[in-house]
């Protein structure tokens, strides 16, 4: 029992932070009936980086995230994950592969405590069956203690000790977002997808959330792909940015490259007609 002993972080200090390609989208096209949400988009996400997807309203950002998470299956194109082409999968299979996400409009169990909500993130990692878990006996008990310890580390990491036992329904919006992030982290993801993590927050909450996103990337080496509207946040946080407009990719590169890209400027500021 040592107060100073925290779990050694997996990412080594001297190794380069950003590695090889983790996920690749190849010529993705997604249609809903006659509506083309995404048209022929390709880009990749590298291991250990923070990748942002930005674009005006209705650009197809959330659809893209849903394709990455396996919730939507594109009509054309391929998704490659860890060097393999990914077949069509059920959501829990995606989770088992190490992809976790948060939602634009928070999707937590309102009546359950923060702790229980985060514990649900460990579900796919639990090995004992329904019956032994219900009886809470033997192996199941030991397993739960193990998972609880992991969850407590995350609670400590996100500084939400004071609301551990509070029902989620009673929390303010900013904290709910943090709990959702905690639940996503509880699955120990390789790739973390954040759908507008900063939406509807005040400046202080945004600063906190930015810090947690950077810390997550830094401490656990988690690859992060996020959608965000707040340009300041995106430019500060991310390593590379994909810009979408009307379902098409109009820019891709570092924040500085994207900022000086003429097509991006036009999409955001409008085009002058003379």
């Amino acid at each position: 029992m040592n107060a100073m002993d925290i779990e050694a972080a997996p990412a080594a200090a001297d190794a380069p932070r950003i590695g090889g390609v983790l996920m690749e989208m190849r010529n993705i096209t997604l249609r809903f009936g006659g509506v083309k949400a995404i048209t022929d988009i390709s880009f990749d996400i590298r291991e250990g980086e923070i990748r942002a997807i930005i674009g005006p309203n209705g650009a197809g950002k959330s659809s893209m995230l849903n394709v990455i998470s396996g919730f939507y299956v594109p009509q054309e194109g391929e998704v490659w994950f860890k060097g393999k082409r990914r077949p069509q999968m059920k959501p829990y299979e995606v989770a088992q592969q190490g992809i976790a996400r948060t939602f634009q409009n928070i999707a937590l169990f309102e009546g359950m405590s923060v702790l229980d909500n985060i514990m649900t993130g460990r579900l796919t990692l639990m090995k004992t069956g329904l019956w032994s878990q219900a009886l809470w006996w033997g192996r199941a008990q030991a397993e739960e203690v193990e998972h609880r310890a992991k969850v407590e580390k995350i609670i400590d990491f996100l500084e939400i000790q004071h609301i551990r036992k509070t029902p989620v329904g009673r929390l303010p919006y900013g904290l709910k977002k943090r709990v959702e992030l905690a639940r996503a982290l509880a699955t120990e993801p390789k790739l973390l997808l954040l759908d507008e993590p900063m939406a509807g927050m005040n400046v202080e909450e945004k600063e906190d959330m930015c810090r947690f996103i950077l810390d997550t990337n830094d401490e656990f080496g988690t690859t992060i792909c996020l959608i965000e509207h707040d340009m300041g946040v995106v430019m500060d946080l991310s390593d590379r940015v994909v810009v979408m407009d009307y379902g098409k990719k109009i820019g891709d590169g570092t924040p500085d490259e994207v900022r000086s890209n003429q097509a991006v400027i036009e999409a955001y500021l409008g085009v002058q007609h003379d």
Partner: protein, 653 residues
């Protein structure tokens, strides 16, 4: 445990505890949702390893080791480890901004700084371009620290590991340094928060700390097995005496909360037997209870109020062991089962045997509320220079308006002008690098001026404090002016958080009032008063009406005292911002800095006296991270009715 014998230093006490109480809990800290425990033997082992690690890093005799962070066993251990190495621990206020920290680090010339986490390390790095004597920075919490330049920085766990590995090299030297410590070596240096001017470093010897701990522990019969919650700033002398001095002397267990925000919950889980809190903690808890009772059902409310009435009538007498009738005892017993017991449990006070409050005056209603529940809450009076204790209340002789009798070993006398002087084994050695201040505070015979004006009650021998001696003044017509006396009466109202009264050399008294956002916000909600910010709520006419009511009540009570009837408040305003230590308006221990407020708000004070009914003002504010901003507001000034005091009537006749 009557004589200290060869127990002349904290490390010596630690060694005794490690052998005598080896397997009893010494420290607990809640981490990852679980209370982690260290026995005395384990703690002694950790502390020795830290000391060896410090030696390996090159800590020398007489060096100063600054310690800054929230209450954690690792930081308490670092202080004792520093003592072992012959160095002097200097705990700092963790919420101090970098500039304030720079002053203290520079003044003591600290060579080592032990930080709780990244936030504190950042502050140290920020001041390092001005201060060049810092040789090593050690941090406890590793989070976010990976990318820092570690050429002169270490994780405490690494220091401990290094210390363990190097024990063959340093064991002998360390034992030698521990053996050198005697009763006169410096135990700790604490910086006073300083209501005036720059903080002063108070040097306290082992004699000061150990004698005081011994005397006070015997006074309240503290014993191994007692539990305390260490949550007050480590830089404050009280925490050093309770969590280090008394804990080491008696061998009781020090519990550290998980974080500042979980403190109330941790308090309930630990259920301390010995508890200290400044009045504002007790006020806050009482306000919370009352707010929640307002929302309770009718039956619950009726039961609560009925039994609280019983408790107020007979509770304090039962606690003091006075004779109480059978019927009342029965009623109190039922009340205990229905209300007091569960309430104490919710508050975390079920097991409190000895409770203290000090630092500020506590409202009689608040004080009596806790005592009537059967909590042995007492008052003490003390200061850093006295190693806390000057006077304290013995069990069974507790009142809200006195601060008790002189503590064991302390002599107290009142000077001609009413100022309180004391002399005791706990009296500080000197102010560090400040012989003039030392000489003007402590005379050749060891008497120390407290700066407070007070008197002994003849009937009981208890000391009563009126005000800071230098704040006591005269009004233009020669009547006595004691601002604190009036401010305290105002602050006893839950809706008033702070008050500042002016009137020295003036024809009448006026006041600034700070509302309590919690209490007034709740009141506003219940009365359908809409507001969007503190500023808006503070300017609300209904709030002004309520505060005027309070001011007038205080005027009536002040008028009853012939000596102080001149201190009635004629005009007041509600400030648009909370007085804040970050803006320098208060000390870190939340005492009002009168001078600074008078300078900063001179426009408002002028308006209070020239008859205007409103004033526009701009105020600079400092945010927690040191950035500055400004807020603008137009404040209203209102009149309050005053009572003709007995003295005035006499003069008129």
């Amino acid at each position: 445990m009557a004589e200290t014998g060869d127990l002349v230093s904290i490390p010596a006490l630690l060694a005794r505890n490690a052998s005598q109480f080896a397997n009893q809990p010494a420290y607990r800290e809640k981490e990852f949702g679980i209370w982690q425990v260290w026995t005395w033997a384990e703690a002694a082992d950790e502390i020795r390893a830290i000391a060896l690690g410090f030696m390996a890093l090159g800590l020398k005799r007489g060096d100063f080791v600054a310690v800054v962070g929230r209450n954690r066993p690792a930081l308490y251990w670092s202080m004792v480890a520093a003592q072992m190495c012959g160095a002097v621990p200097v705990p700092l206020y963790q919420d101090a901004a970098a500039d304030e920290m720079a002053y203290v680090l520079d003044h003591c010339g600290a060579t080592f700084v032990v930080c709780g986490d990244q936030e504190q390390v950042d502050k140290v790095i920020e001041v390092q371009d001005r201060i060049h004597h810092i040789e090593q920075v050690v941090y406890v919490d590793k989070r976010g620290m990976r990318k820092y330049d570690h050429s002169r920085m270490n994780w405490l766990a690494d220091v401990v590991a290094e210390g363990r590995a190097a024990h063959w090299r340093f064991d002998e030297e360390l034992n030698h340094r521990i053996a050198e410590l005697d009763y006169d070596s410096t135990c700790v240096m604490l910086y006073t928060s300083g209501t005036t001017g720059k903080p002063k470093g108070v040097v306290l010897s082992n004699r000061n700390i150990i004698e005081t701990s011994k005397n006070s522990a015997e006074f309240d019969r503290l014993r191994p097995g007692d539990e305390i919650l260490a949550y007050l700033p480590m830089a404050w002398v009280g925490d050093f005496i309770f969590s280090v001095g008394q804990a080491m002397w008696t061998g009781f267990c020090v519990n550290c909360p998980e974080s500042a925000t979980t403190m109330m919950n941790d308090l309930r889980e630990i259920g301390p037997t010995y508890f200290f809190a400044p009045p504002r903690v007790f006020e806050g808890q009482l306000t919370n209870v009352m707010i929640r009772m307002e929302d309770a059902g009718r039956i619950k409310k009726a039961i609560f109020h009925h039994y609280m009435k019983v408790a107020r009538r007979v509770g304090p007498d039962i606690l003091d062991g006075k004779s109480v009738g059978m019927a009342d005892r029965l009623a109190y017993f039922i009340g205990d089962k229905l209300v007091y017991g569960p309430l104490k449990n919710t508050l975390g006070f079920s097991r409190v045997r000895v409770g203290y409050t000090a630092g500020e005056a506590i409202g009689p209603e608040i004080f009596d509320f806790y005592r009537s529940l059967g909590i042995n809450l007492k008052q003490l009076y003390g200061q850093t220079e006295a190693s806390v204790f000057i006077t304290q209340q013995p069990d069974g002789q507790v009142r809200s308006d006195t601060v008790g009798v002189p503590s064991p070993g302390v002599e107290v006398r009142i000077a001609e002008n009413g100022e309180v002087f004391y002399r005791s084994p706990g009296t500080f050695v000197s102010y560090y690098k400040n012989p003039e201040s030392t000489a003007s505070t402590k005379d050749a015979e060891g008497w120390v001026a407290t700066g407070d004006a007070g008197f002994f009650e003849e009937a009981t021998g208890h000391l009563r404090i009126i005000d800071r001696a230098k704040d006591v003044g005269k009004m233009a017509d020669g009547r006595l002016f004691a601002p604190k006396y009036v401010e305290n009466k105002l602050k006893f109202f839950p809706s008033i958080l702070e008050a500042v009264v002016f009137g020295n050399g003036r024809p009448m008294c006026t006041a600034f009032v700070n509302i309590d956002l919690n209490a007034v916000g709740n009141w506003a909600e219940r009365n359908n008063i809409a507001y969007s910010s503190y500023q808006e709520l503070a300017a609300n006419p209904a709030v002004y009406d309520m505060i005027r009511g309070h001011v007038e009540e205080v005027n009536a009570s002040v008028a009853a005292d012939p000596m102080l009837s001149g201190c009635q408040i004629h005009r007041f305003l509600i400030l648009h911002k909370e007085l804040d230590a970050d803006d320098g308006e208060m000390t870190r221990t939340r005492k009002v800095r009168r001078k600074i407020i008078e300078e900063k708000y001179h426009d408002l004070i002028a308006a209070l006296y020239d008859g205007r009914t409103s004033i526009y003002t701009e105020t600079e504010v400092t945010y927690e991270d040191g950035r500055k901003g400004a807020i603008r507001a137009t404040l209203r000034i209102e009149e309050a009715t005053t009572q003709p005091g007995p003295a005035q009537r006499m003069a008129a006749e």
